[in-house]
Amino acid sequence: MTKILAVDDSNSLRQMVAFTLKQSGYEVVEAVNGTDGLQKARATQVDLVLTDVNMPGMDGITLVRELRSLPTYRFTPILVLTTEAGTEKKQEGRAAGATGWLVKPFSPDQLLATVKRVLG
């Protein structure tokens, strides 16, 4: 089963993402910040990482960088969830090794379309 790691400090958004993905048959691992996300990604190999950018503790950009430095996550798709104002964040995310981004706010359908796009 395809496993997706959803990292967001906002419970509601994370739950929405997790619920949407689970409804579509993905297995979802949730994490509340970068540190938690890194720990969970190390504990289980996931097929896709979705991470918020602004989080207390380790932020999303650092998480991307940390993940990319792990041998098991060199090619794993990682999407950052940014807001429309975050052009800088997109560039930063890409520089850190993110695959792409999803612009907030997004609907469940948009989320699924994007996930499908990276997972096929």
Binding site: L13, R74, L81
Partner: protein, 716 residues
């Protein structure tokens, strides 16, 4: 697929209110160079905006966007943090709070205020902060925002005529960003009929080939009425990591055909990084990637139920601890059942020993589990304290007093229910301390005190209670004025001498206020009686200590939790009752010579140097068939509540145990003299006695109104 996201609105609202609270408290303590705090405030606003957009609260999202931008500029050092800005942000926090509350409850909002604040934010966003202006940041900003927009505009005009020629030459490390050319090509295929030619000319000799690099490039023709933007969107994520040419087909159609012929087929080396399925692809499905804007409308805040469903956020550590404990419980259970099966076959003595050991373990497990389950409901009192910095800030402005707030013991935990119900009384007491206690700066200076008055909120655990103290260094309670007011109100007769405690008690009397000028803040005389009533309803007490000219301290004592307590089981006329252990002073055998009758109004018991009224429980509880023992065969349980003592006559002391408190109000109503009921080990119900309620019941009965219960009168 349609996903109902309204189910997450409750969570969103909860975390947003928490976020607003932390924004507020951070704003109140913000200094211009505190980048950590600014970041945290920004993050909170950012989260609220993101969630509001997602869950369909577009007004909130729009409003918060301005706030977020302001904070983003401050965080990036492009805007100085001024007191005006903090004030504006505080106002904004209130607005967002009101808007979310309105969304939750369907209540009206102060649209005018929100519009005003919103306009103020817009206005301050327009004023570029020249002091902080830095040519470099401005340049990059312009680049960031304008370029894509300009590009988008030109693309919008270019509608695909028949098809597109697309040349895609990714950089070698493209896959290290998790982007897979195969996926991009697959996405293109969904837009129309796609012909793909793979160029392998850049492939190095096998021994130099790095399997993690991409050496291939592609030339494609995409046939169909396809929007150029849709193509660019697919390559959006690899922009800057590839060379990309997208041009209308008409000009170069022939060239492409030639190239397709030239492509070398069946190169084994290319299989690693190249889509190894048929390159001759045809799009079959209609474009499904077009982002539907209507989808978000499903997120209408439909869940407009009055939202506090009484949920609670629990630290995962606490949950992990619980899971561990349940694990231990399971081990104990299997150990016990093993012992049970041994009983039939094995050594009885050995089994009994094992069973006893298992039971002891079970008891330990149960207690630990209970304590931990209870701790889930425990929240730090900072949830209640957090509102005071703002309140003091506002009061200081409106009353023209200089104030400082000191908080300590914020991490002291108490039950969520108690916490929720104590907040209002605390607000009242703090307002009172500021309004009545703290003097104006000139008065303070004249009295030789610092101009700035201090209010100190302190919380700590003591025994099974939490104690909250509200201390001010103001003038203290004005004994003369309280006395005069009490006489005027005919609460006490003129000329009577009363103790300090009685004076202090007066301020809790209904309708009592000594404020000379009724201010907005307090002084309407509604309040202190309500404060005491609310605290009592929580099973707590409040008292005041005051020193003239030095200030006063209100001390609130509350039980840590409302749902479990230590109780003493007693028997009265064949029924079992529970007395809260905390109100028991001592239990003793009746000594006949210590019982005195007082003017036919009742009995008192002489305990050392004190005369304590004797309460016959069977009489107070109206037990219909009093199977009462002689007083000398009975026991006395001396109890204390609200500083008053009484000796309860009981038949038996049956043992102490923790009891889970069940409200009688759930299916019946409050009953005088009882604080609730509990379920005993055998499944029967035992009533929990409310000591202060019993004492006031006894006053009603021993007073002239004794004829309410004529038959019990005779029995007594």
């Amino acid at each position: 697929m349609s996903i109902d996201i309204s189910q997450f609105i409750q969570t969103f609202l909860e975390e947003s209110f928490e976020g607003l609270d932390s924004m507020e408290s951070l704003l109140l303590s913000l200094t211009s160079d505190d980048s950590e705090s600014i970041n945290a405030i920004f993050r909170a606003a950012h989260s609220i905006k993101g969630g509001a957009g997602t869950f369909g609260f577009s007004e909130v999202a729009r409003f918060t966007h301005g706030v977020e931008t302001l904070l983003d500029e401050a965080r990036a050092g492009r805007r100085a943090v001024t007191t005006e800005m903090i004030a504006l942000l505080l106002e904004s926090v209130d607005c967002i709070h009101a808007m979310l509350e309105a969304a939750r409850d369907g209540s009206p909002v102060d649209a005018a205020r929100i519009a005003t604040i919103g306009a103020a934010i817009e206005a301050s966003l327009r004023t570029v902060d020249h002091v902080m202006l830095d040519s470099k940041t401005v340049d990059s900003k312009v680049l960031d925002t304008q370029l894509p927009e300009a590009a988008a505009n030109s693309h919008a005009a270019a509608q695909g005529p028949h098809g597109w020629r697309i040349v895609f030459i990714p950089e070698q490390d493209v896959m290290r960003s998790g982007n897979d050319p195969l996926r991009l090509i697959a996405a293109l295929r969904e837009l129309g009929v796609l012909q793909v030619a793979c160029n392998t000319s850049a492939l190095p000799p096998f021994e130099d080939l790095n399997a993690e690099d991409c050496y291939l490039s592609w030339e494609m023709t995409l046939l169909g009425e396809v929007n150029r933007e849709a193509i660019l969107e697919i390559f959006e994520w690899v922009e800057g990591q590839c060379e990309l040419i997208v041009e209308p087909l008409s000009a170069s159609a022939e060239v492409v055909d030639e190239m397709v012929d030239e492509v070398p087929h069946g190169d084994n080396n290319s299989a690693q990084a190249c889509p190894n399925q048929s390159l001759q692809a045809s799009g079959s499905e209609p474009p499904s990637l077009s982002v539907s804007a209507s989808a978000s409308s499903s997120a209408k805040p439909a869940a407009r139920n009055r939202a506090d469903n009484g949920s609670i956020r629990v630290n995962t550590d606490k949950i992990d601890a619980l899971i561990n404990m349940v694990g231990e419980l399971v081990i104990t259970q299997s150990m016990l059942s093993q012992m049970g099966s041994h009983l039939q076959t094995g050594d009885i003595n050995y089994c009994i020993e094992g069973l006893l050991e298992g039971l002891a373990q079970l008891e330990r497990n149960t207690r630990e589990l209970q304590e931990n389950v209870m701790s889930i409901r425990m929240l730090p009192i900072s949830f209640a304290f957090n509102r005071f910095p703002r309140m003091i800030h506002d009061l200081s402005a409106s009353l023209g007093k200089q104030l400082k707030l000191k908080l300590s013991g914020e991490h002291t935990e108490l039950d969520k229910n108690v916490l929720e119900k104590i907040t209002d009384p605390l607000v009242h007491l703090v307002r009172n301390a500021v309004d009545h206690g703290i003097e104006s700066p000139d008065v303070r200076l004249a009295a030789g005190k610092p101009a700035v008055g201090t209010v100190h909120l302190n919380a700590y655990h003591k025994g099974g209670n939490i104690v909250i103290e509200i201390t001010d260094d103001g003038a203290g309670l004005n004994r003369q004025r309280i006395l005069a007011k009490a006489v005027e109100r005919r609460l006490i007769p003129a000329g009577q001498s009363i103790t300090d405690e009685q004076i202090h008690d007066l301020i809790f009397a209904a309708g009592f206020s000594t404020a000379e000028v009724v201010s907005d803040v307090s002084g309407r005389g509604v309040g202190m009686d309500v404060v005491r009533k609310n605290i009592k309803a929580l099973g707590g007490s409040v008292e005041v200590q005051s020193r003239d000219g030095l200030g006063s301290t209100f001390i609130i004592r509350l039980p840590l939790t409302l749902s479990i307590m230590d109780g003493q089981l007693i028997g009265v006329s064949g029924e079992s009752y529970v007395i809260p252990l905390i109100s028991i002073v001592e239990s003793l055998q009746v000594r006949e010579d210590s019982v005195k009758s007082v003017a036919s109004r009742g009995m008192v018991y002489r305990l050392r140097d004190e005369y304590i009224p004797v309460l016959f429980l069977h009489e107070l509880l109206g037990i219909r068939s009093p199977d009462t023992k002689q007083l000398t065969e009975s026991l006395l349980v001396v109890v204390e509540a609200d500083g008053q003592r009484a000796a309860l006559v009981v038949d038996d002391l049956l043992g102490q145990q923790q009891v889970v408190i069940k409200a009688l109000e759930t299916n019946f109503k409050k009953v005088g003299g009882l604080s609730g009921a509990t379920i005993l080990g055998d499944g029967t119900v035992a009533l929990i006695l409310d000591v202060s309620g019993l004492i006031s019941l006894s006053r009603q009965i021993t007073g002239p109104a004794r004829s309410i219960h004529p038959e019990e009168n005779k029995a007594a």
